[in-house]
């Protein structure tokens, strides 16, 4: 579904990614792990075209999106749940959700289906986004991404600042998306949370891919896990 091949990305003249490659299959959950500043968010931004990859290629559903405009990439079926949710604070929840609505080649989600997953949203529709709690904002951000009918959702630090119960709910949603055939890339500081939901793992270190493989292979080797993710569990 998504193939990232040897991309180099920069912020100004500072290189943030060095020949990073990864791939995601339909319905697969890929955990993207690494320390602060490893380049995880930059990978997501490069896929979305927000931080352009100067070298390498990014293909989605077989088509190159390396040079595509961000809105074209989104319309191709890539959704984004940013780490700080990035809702429009002065708009109501209903308006924020309506901004995400679009049709793609993938399964369309109705507002009814989304509010069935996130039941509290039914009662929050008229509230302005700036009045929501962190967990409520995360619900809106995920719901907004789903209403965009994605084939792949990029989750950036979905557990950040949330209570453990809400983190469990978010991970349950990612599992539900997998059952619906929707792929996810989950960027996480909390490795155990990500490994609990992922099929495969890519570990980044200082902009390089340090390790890539199945979750089972990583968890079966405590020494390797400690070496790669020492401070992240």
């Amino acid at each position: 579904m998504l193939d990232v091949s040897s991309i180099d990305s920069f912020y100004g003249e500072t290189q943030a990614l060095f020949s990073v490659s990864l791939s995601v299959r339909a319905g697969e959950v890929l955990a993207l792990l690494g320390a602060n500043g490893a380049g995880k968010t930059t990978v997501l931004r490069s896929i979305l075209g927000l931080t352009r990859a100067r070298r390498g290629d990014i293909r989605f559903q077989g088509k190159s999106i390396t040079a595509s405009a961000t809105h074209h990439i989104a319309c191709a079926g890539i959704g984004w749940v940013p780490d700080d949710r990035r809702l429009c604070p002065t708009l109501t929840v209903a308006k924020n959700l309506s901004l995400g609505e679009k049709r793609t080649a993938f399964r369309a989600w109705s507002l009814g289906e989304v509010t069935e997953i996130f039941t509290p949203l039914k009662y929050l529709m008229a509230r302005e986004a700036e009045t929501l709690s962190g967990g409520e904002m995360q619900m809106v951000a995920i719901a907004r991404a789903l209403l965009g009918s994605p084939g792949l959702v990029l989750f950036d630090e979905p557990s950040q600042g949330l209570a453990p119960k809400i983190v469990d709910d978010v991970m349950a949603v990612i599992r539900r998306l997998r059952q619906a055939g929707i792929a996810s890339i989950v960027v996480e500081q909390n490795a155990d949370v990500a490994l609990g939901v992922a099929d495969r793992v890519v570990v980044l270190s200082q902009g390089h891919v340090a390790w890539a493989g199945d979750v089972a292979a990583l968890t079966a080797d405590p020494g390797l896990k400690r070496k790669l993710l020492g401070g992240l569990s």
Binding site: L50, T70, H71, W80, C88, T90, K95, N96, L99
Partner: protein, 308 residues
């Protein structure tokens, strides 16, 4: 001077304030989404007035027989046509200006300021080339002109019409901004342009539409204002300065701030004009200083792009 004698000045001020608000709203839409101050907004306002004069006064570049036939059309219909068509004719100027401004997005606002200042100068000179330097008076239909007596005072009929048209246009802007998905996109785009694009919204196209809307509002205000102010090449400067002042006064990004700011400025200008006409323009700057001294973000402002 009795309170009753002040009433016409107050109502004239309200009418003026509503028109200022209209200009300020177009100015603010562009400032909000593009984060650039469009100094050419006043020139677009002036173009609206000149195009309206050309339509209403049958001064169009058309074959003589067509022009004669158009001049024979009742003035009321020509005026109505001007109100609708002049803003549409000015819209392409806004599209070209937006295209020129693209290189300034996301950069120091000074670039946009200099560019739009240059465009304002070009448009003003263009007006002088086409229409000359003399002043024109916009013809107004008989039913809308003249005055009437109420409470033993003489009232200008056209000011009521102008205020009514401004209220209708402001209502339309409020509906678009507050009640439509387009309005939500504009607000979201003004807050966070990246997320809007990542949701699949074409920001480039959105900016063009916002510029078209802002330009048409300026031109519409120019059409309505023309019979009150007269038409002259530098009338845009007379409009853009109060518009900018109203946005700062009302708070950047606030519809109601622009509406209330416009009304306040209009009333202060109107009332001070009743006592000391030479103070009427100075009074609005004093009002701005008074409000901004106690509330830097303006009356309804949240965190503004100017504070970034």
């Amino acid at each position: 001077m009795s309170l009753l004698n002040l009433l016409p000045h107050l109502l004239n001020g309200i009418a003026l304030g509503l028109l200022f608000s209209l200009i300020a709203l177009g100015f603010m839409l562009i400032l909000g989404l593009m984060e650039q101050i469009n100094l050419a907004h006043g020139s677009l306002f002036a173009l609206g007035a000149y195009f309206a004069y050309a339509i209403c006064g049958a001064k169009l570049p058309l074959p003589p027989d067509v022009l004669v036939a158009w001049a024979g059309v009742p003035l009321g219909l020509r005026f109505a046509t001007a109100v609708v068509v002049a803003p549409i004719l000015v819209a392409p100027f806004g599209i070209v200006l937006e295209r020129l401004m693209r290189r300034t997005y996301g950069r120091d606002p000074l670039y946009g300021l200099l560019l739009t200042f240059g465009v304002a100068m070009v448009l003003e000179e263009l007006i002088r080339v086409v229409w000359g330097t003399r002043d024109y008076m916009m013809p107004v239909p008989r039913d809308m002109s003249g005055g009437f007596i109420m409470l033993d005072l003489i009232w200008s009929t056209y000011r009521f019409w102008a205020a009514g048209m401004a209220v209708v246009a402001m209502g339309a802007v409020w509906f678009i901004v507050e009640r439509t998905r387009f309005g939500a996109m504009v607000k979201a785009g003004a807050h966070d342009s990246e997320i809007v694009q990542a949701l699949g919204i074409d920001l480039t196209r959105l900016r063009v539409w916002v510029f078209v809307l802002g330009t048409m509002l300026a031109a519409f205000a120019g059409v309505i204002m023309a019979p009150l102010w007269g038409i002259r090449p530098h009338m845009g400067v007379d409009a853009v300065v109060p518009a900018f002042l109203i946005i700062v006064l009302g708070g950047v990004g606030s519809f109601w701030g622009a509406a209330l700011g416009g009304l306040l400025v209009g009333m202060v200008v109107g009332l001070s004009g009743a006592y000391a006409s030479e103070w009427s323009m100075l009074s609005m700057y004093l009002l701005l200083i008074a409000v901004v001294t106690f509330r830097a973000r303006g009356l309804f402002g949240k965190k503004s792009v100017l504070e970034a």
